[in-house]
């Protein structure tokens, strides 16, 4: 298990334990973290599971695939810094302690 912190726009922190091999999106959906819609169910096709990765962690994540990259453009609310699709971030031991920020609105 690795520990992840999801920070909501109102300051609430959701601290969760995720089994290695699951995605950030799945954990949020299964454990009551709000604000992740994941309309396509984890196929990098909807762009509604975006998170902003904490700057300290940005370079420690594997780079996004070309498909993920094509979905990262900001939504209506403007630029999401260090945006990633949470469905494409697979948990590994190296990511223990990862901190991500929820964008407030997904579409």
């Amino acid at each position: 298990m690795v520990q992840i912190t999801y920070c909501d726009t109102d300051g609430t922190k959701y601290v969760r334990e995720i089994p290695v091999g699951r995605t950030l999106m799945e954990c949020a959906m299964n454990s009551g973290v709000p604000g992740i819609l994941a309309e396509c169910g984890g196929s990098a096709a909807c762009g509604t599971c975006k998170v902003s990765v904490d700057p300290l962690w940005r370079d420690r994540l594997p780079a996004p695939s070309m498909l993920e990259e094509s979905m990262l453009e900001a939504g209506e609310e403007g630029v999401i810094p260090n945006a990633r699709l949470s469905c494409q971030i697979l948990m590994s031991e190296e990511l223990d302690g990862l901190v991500v920020h929820l964008p407030g609105r997904q579409r």
Binding site: E39, C40, G41, G42, S43, A44, A45, C46, G47, S65, M66, L67, E69, S70, M71, E73, A74, G75, E76, R107
Partner: protein, 419 residues
């Protein structure tokens, strides 16, 4: 007697005539008890709503075989449950998108990205995605709003309109033509092709429409090669996948996919949503008084009136929910049935605007609707503009008929108001 036979016998559903030589026998691996009647057949026109068949279908087996379910002639598996549809939408190992378009069988090109499988599919999606993000759609908002206003202005003072023709088709096609950089002077022809492509069971008409659209798109692609613009055809010409440009056939497939995917689906949803509001004055009043409730209401109406059925072809034998599917079997994913699955939704036949429930109306998995954000924006703007400019409207007559094929749609209906 089951609902299908009963309703057909009663004359309430007008099933298309099908050439008996085209009908294929039920495959040997399909258990006879799983062959069930199914009303959502290309070319079928009904005097009763598509909703009237739901209770019977959801009381039956989780997955059944329906003759004529695909393009009015071929049999297919119908999974009726939301969760089974989710599994199939995501299972790209066993189910292919190749030849999902029911409108033609032999062709030199395929819908892109709609009919692509891995690994090409991700390349096509990565190419197309940036043009369909919320950010890109927001730029179009003022234009979309202008077209909605223009369409309303065309009939507002008359105190009535035939909603499908005067608004549901009139408005989204202009947005589409602009996106593609196409002139507006052939709208009538475009709409006729579109109708013949999707609602008619007549193979001749379908093939003629496909040929006409493809040849029109080829001409436009040639023109855009010489004179590129800020439109999706020019975007496709410039785009690179895997370090190469798209071939001519790929470009036709890309443009055709935008045509087939972007027009009717918005029109169908508009039709259902406005028909609903014309009949449910209480709901209309509620949205007029609370325009901020419109986005949630649209999601609930997308669930309740999900018009799209999309197909897959089994490419590797598999067993789902105890049912054996073989290579070559077609599966129809009827998102309307998913939206009314009693195991997922409490009181699925109630319209509850603030339900905020998930739905499969834009699909699921890697092929989720590329134009989802654009569609939502068009639907929202249409409601906002119509409700702010037209006073309370109601249905002029109750004799509405419905297309029951792979796209559910009220055929036509008049609405009236005090002008």
């Amino acid at each position: 007697m089951q609902f299908g036979e009963q309703l057909i016998a009663s004359g309430l559903v007008d099933m298309p005539k099908t050439d008996a030589t085209r009908l294929r026998p039920v495959p040997a691996h399909v258990p006879p008890e799983l062959v069930r009647p199914y009303p959502y057949v290309l070319g079928a026109k009904s005097k009763v709503r598509p909703h009237d068949f739901i209770a019977d279908i959801h009381a039956g087996p989780a997955i059944f075989w329906a003759e004529r379910a695909h393009s009015g002639a071929d049999g297919a598996w119908i999974p009726r449950r939301f969760e089974d549809m989710q599994v199939i939408f995501k299972d790209i190992e066993h189910f292919s998108n190749g030849s999902i378009a029911s409108f033609h069988e032999e062709k030199s090109w395929h819908l892109i990205p709609g009919e692509a499988d891995p690994p090409l599919h991700a390349l096509y999606r990565a190419m197309a995605n940036p043009e369909f993000t919320v950010k890109r759609i927001v730029v179009l908002e003022h234009k979309i709003r202008d077209y909605a206003r223009q369409a309303v202005a065309g009939f507002r003072d008359r105190g009535r309109c035939e909603f499908m023709k005067d608004f549901a088709f009139e408005f989204p096609i202009k947005v589409f033509l602009d996106l593609m950089g196409l002139r507006h002077d052939r709208i009538e022809e475009f709409l006729l092709w579109e109708h013949n492509l999707i609602y008619e069971a007549d193979r001749g008409k379908i093939e003629h429409a496909v040929a006409a659209i493809a040849s029109f798109l080829r001409e436009e692609i040639e023109l855009r090669r010489k004179n590129p613009g800020d439109d999706l055809i020019s975007y496709g010409i410039k785009a690179q996948i895997d370090g190469r440009k798209l071939s001519d056939n790929e470009l036709v497939g890309f443009c055709f996919n935008l045509y087939a995917g972007g027009l009717d689906t918005v029109s169908n949803n508009l039709g259902w949503q406005f028909l609903h509001l014309a009949e449910r004055i209480d709901h209309q009043k509620m949205l007029r008084a609370n325009p901020e409730a419109i986005p949630d209401a649209i999601e609930e109406m997308l669930r309740f009136y999900a018009p799209v059925t999309i197909s897959r072809v089994c490419k590797k034998d598999t067993v789902l929910n105890g049912v054996s599917m073989k290579v070559g079997d077609r599966v129809m994913l009827n998102t309307f049935l998913a939206g009314h699955d009693p195991e997922i939704y409490t009181d699925p036949e109630a319209m509850i605007f603030d339900r905020r429930a998930r739905h499969l109306s834009f699909g699921y998995g890697p092929h989720l609707c590329l134009g989802m954000h654009l569609a939502r924006r068009e639907l929202r703007i249409a409601l906002e503009e119509f409700l702010s400019q037209v006073p309370q409207f109601r249905l002029a007559a109750q004799d509405v008929k419905y297309y029951l094929g792979a796209l559910l749609q009220p055929v036509e209906f008049e609405i009236v108001w005090n002008s």
